[in-house]
């Protein structure tokens, strides 16, 4: 066998790589760049996100994300089904915190139809939205830690999340995709037993967050892997369309619960955590702090919960109660009309946005007066957040790409719609 000396190694590598029939000529194979496909099936991309990376050794020069692997055609389907039938579909948008999407959609349709849910229903919606925020942040922190290498935090986060999912089970009937809100209220009431159990859960929850933070904040590997990685400045963050915890980690104190208050958030006392560094560590800190703030809000909501009914009594727009449908005539007719022909809101359009755990979720509904919308556009936060990835990974190493994607926390179900 021919001995390989230092002089003829390079040409031999080139030869072997190109094969016999090729019309590419390279001067030095080891000085060129490489295109790497972090494909849709990958343990570290959160869902089916395809990243095409152009690498120079281990440094990323450019990145092109490709979406569409989970495009289910939500907007086209919404044009063919009534407003009430679309509620289960909104669950599957940001599928880590389904009740939050339900609340967002119900608020948008109620704004269009011109009805306001009773106060108790609004408090219950706030309660669910904050529990959903806790679910989402637990998974986000857990997944970020798992991607970086700390597997225990993921399992602890999921353990706490299971307790929250038990509450969803009792309140909404399903542990995961809840479809709990209705146009005009919520589907069923919350008993005082459940609320007492939620308070017990919150009381032991604060220590669990402290435990998780103790594991991560003092861990040199975690901190060094995330500090200074993926920095985005304040102006760039607003320009590129960031909203939610990602924006607050860059120094912008913007939260839709304070800027355009909805439900009863203007009566709740909570802080908005803001960090100015704009790197991955700051995004993690914002999420951990928001967990504590959500626990505070839940305590206040349960304290102030008013008594009353949970569905509005407006027969042309809101489904009547089941007990009355089975016994009275008008309610039966209204139920039939609403389920088959839909609530018919007035002609017009509305854009309503709420503060989802990932950012700003907005529904833009155009109605022509019929039972189904003429157009429904879902402004999903993850779509805008993923747009920033090419900007953030420029100049970083491949392993930083994983940390950056984890800290941005995209969910492909809503990015691809």
């Amino acid at each position: 066998m021919q001995k390989l000396t230092k002089d003829n190694v390079h040409p031999k590598i080139v030869q072997a790589l190109l094969g016999a029939d090729s019309n590419i000529t390279i001067e030095d194979a080891l000085e060129n760049e490489m295109i790497l496909n972090m494909g849709p099936q990958h343990p570290a991309t959160h869902g089916v996100l395809r990243l095409l990376l152009r690498l120079d050794g281990e440094t990323v020069i450019a990145c092109v994300p490709e979406l569409g692997y989970l495009h289910r055609g939500y907007e086209k389907m919404a044009e063919n089904m009534s407003y009430l039938e679309f509620i289960p579909h909104t669950d599957r948008l940001d599928y880590i915190s389904p009740p939050a999407n339900n609340v967002a959609y119900a608020l948008a349709v109620e704004k269009l139809a011109g009805i306001i849910a009773p106060p108790r229903a609004q408090y219950i919606r706030m309660l669910l939205a904050e529990l959903a925020r806790m679910c989402s942040h637990l998974v986000a922190i857990g997944a970020l830690a798992m991607d970086v290498g700390a597997l225990t935090v993921f399992l602890w986060g999921l353990r706490e999340r299971e307790k929250i999912l038990d509450f969803f089970d009792v309140i909404c009937g399903a542990r995961f995709t809840t479809s709990y809100t209705r146009i005009g209220g919520v589907a069923s009431d919350v008993t005082s037993d459940t609320m007492r159990n939620i308070i017990t859960f919150i009381n032991q929850f604060e220590e669990k967050i402290d435990e998780m933070e103790r594991l991560l904040n003092g861990n040199r590997i975690f901190v060094e892997r995330l500090e200074g990685v993926g920095v985005i400045s304040k102006d760039d963050a607003i320009d590129i369309g960031f909203t939610g915890p990602n924006l607050r980690a860059s120094g912008v104190a913007f939260d839709l619960r304070r800027a355009t208050p909805y439900l009863f958030y203007n009566e709740m006392d909570f802080k908005i955590p803001v960090y100015t560094e704009g790197d991955c560590l700051a995004r993690y800190f914002v999420r951990a702090d928001e967990l504590r703030e959500s626990a505070k809000i839940i305590r206040q909501v349960i304290d102030k919960m008013p008594n009353g009914e949970v569905m509005l009594n407006s027969p042309k727009k809101v489904l009547p109660r089941k007990t009355e449908i089975y016994t009275k005539m008008e309610e039966l007719i209204h139920d039939f009309m609403i389920v088959n022909f839909g609530i018919n809101p007035p002609v017009g359009e509305v854009y309503h946005a709420v503060e989802n755990p990932k950012g700003e979720l907005g529904f833009y509904i155009v109605s022509k007066g019929e039972g189904h919308p003429w157009k429904m556009k879902i402004r999903s936060p993850s779509f805008a957040n993923i747009q920033a990835i090419p900007h953030l990974v420029k100049g970083q190493m491949i392993s930083d790409v994983v940390a950056i994607v984890g800290s941005i926390d995209p969910i492909m179900g809503e990015a691809d719609k």
Partner: protein, 179 residues
């Protein structure tokens, strides 16, 4: 596989070796989580401390197809993603099984639209369908137990030698009527 197939042509050794091989296979099914959307979260929940899947032998959820026997397709499969799923399935070595988790993979689910494949059995051979949207973790564990039962009924000579068939991944007929 060569020695086993010579030993299990007929005779006393057949049932013993078969039982041993299928006992080993069914108690260490390593799943390949093809987690696409919401069902993937329930699959993560099956791995968490409450509904432990490790006690069924599926301790490692390897994300590389070369080391797995069971592919759990969890989530809506769109036309663009179908090519990826098929590619990964082709890379798994025999013997392999598929669980279609959730309504979206079984029949398109609640998405009757232009971009969703109405059921993955249009391009993959499915062994067990788990119903639900998403199926509760206990439901997925039930599906896993049914796969274990199915493996328990297989015989060693059902799986052709990989070298003979090349990369022909036509699924072997594991129907019960052959037994």
């Amino acid at each position: 596989m060569g020695l086993e197939s010579k030993l299990t042509n007929d005779g006393f050794f057949t049932t013993t070796i078969d039982a041993l091989a299928s006992w080993a296979r069914e108690n260490s099914v390593w799943p390949m989580p093809m987690g696409i959307s919401c069902c993937a979260i329930e699959m993560m929940a099956v791995g968490d401390p409450k509904y432990d899947i490790a006690r069924f032998g599926s301790e490692v959820m390897r994300f590389t197809p070369r080391q797995c026997d069971l592919m759990i397709v969890a989530g809506t499969v769109t036309y663009k993603m179908a090519h990826v799923v098929k590619k990964i399935f082709d890379q798994m070595p025999e013997p392999k099984w598929v669980i279609a988790m959730g309504a979206c993979t079984s029949s398109g689910g609640m998405y009757r639209s232009y971009n969703v494949v109405q059921g993955i059995d249009q391009f993959l051979p499915v062994d067990v369908y788990a119903a639900g949207c998403p199926p509760r973790p206990e439901n997925l564990l039930n599906a896993l137990m049914q796969i274990q039962e199915k493996i328990g009924k297989t015989r060693v000579k059902d799986f052709p030698d990989a070298q003979q068939s090349g990369f022909d991944t036509k699924p072997t007929d594991l129907s019960l009527s052959k037994n």
